[in-house]
Symmetry: C2
Subunit: 189 residues, 2 copies
């Protein structure tokens, strides 16, 4: 059921880092993106896979986590992602990827959820530093980093309150709360 | 299985127009988008639903179909979409939707596939004319039109040939062919 998977596909930022995701699984996830729609079928997206601690350690420092939790510096060692899929745009194919990377990222995250994993789509990236990862040359625009792992936190959806605040927050038990607008609010006509 | 749904979620452009999609189903599909990730959880997307012939007829003329099939003017009467979801960006929430509409569109189309429907994500829209549809005021940027219906065509995925041509094409039996890049080609590292 897509609804079950979509509800499970919360954005997760803390993981059971000791649980690996094999690169073969990452390839399966990228295959879901490969089979997804692409504007004018140009298919400009390319992917970097990272499934080992050494390569993950090149990626992690260049990602910004949880803008609404300024006192939290991101997941600490032991709770960091087990794997990453970095989504690139091949500039030799197209100068812009349109919304392809949104479509692709959703396919990947839903596939991850089916396998008991989860993750977070990260656009806030130190792009120039991330180019130190092998194969991310000037040919590619860095579009998204998908952080993946076995989630180690509980994420709940709440209705948006009367103040209209959509900022996610963490409660005293470290449960992550995400306010979502009501269906009637987002249907304009 | 996400993979089954993703494989079934081809872009369809010809439909059994006599098969309606009730607006209640469109609301369920938008609810899938509502529960999907949104950059900084800003949730700027709003939606217009169209499930009756009169409203559909306001939308259809303002969409461009199948850029690689220049001799085909789009689906003719009887094969047109039964419904539309127009994806808007509420400019009072955010000037840009990032890739939210790609994520949302994929959730919607996968939900549609599960229900035996299919569709096409259309970005090539006569936006100013589409504002004649009620409620699409200047507050909203028009991001995508999702054309929906019960598909009436067969769409096959082929490997990209040695000439690298990614343009979809229709064969003598009117089967629609979509060349997709190989997995090894899109994994850069």
């Amino acid at each position: 059921m897509p609804r079950d998977l979509i509800v499970r596909s919360r954005s997760y930022r803390r993981f059971c880092q000791e649980v690996p995701i094999p690169c073969e699984v990452l390839r399966e996830l990228v295959d879901l993106a490969r089979l997804s729609a692409s504007g004018a079928n140009r298919q400009p997206l390319k992917y970097i896979l990272s499934c080992d601690a050494e390569k993950n350690a090149l990626i992690f420092p260049n990602l910004a986590w949880a803008g609404y939790l300024p006192d939290w510096g991101g997941p600490h060692e032991g709770e960091r992602p087990s794997a990453y899929i970095v989504v690139l745009g091949d500039l030799e194919i197209s100068k812009t990827a349109g919304v392809d990377h949104g479509i692709a990222a959703q396919s990947i995250l839903l596939g991850a959820a089916e396998k008991g994993f989860g993750g977070c789509m990260i656009a806030s990236i130190r792009r120039e530093k991330l180019r130190e990862v092998p194969k991310i040359g000037p040919r590619y625009a860095i579009l998204l980093a998908l952080a993946l792992g076995k989630p180690k936190e509980t994420v709940l959806i709440d209705p948006v309150g009367p103040d209209g605040d959509i900022e996610y927050w963490r409660d005293a038990e470290s449960v992550h709360h995400v306010p979502k607008r009501a269906l009637d609010e987002i249907i304009a006509g």
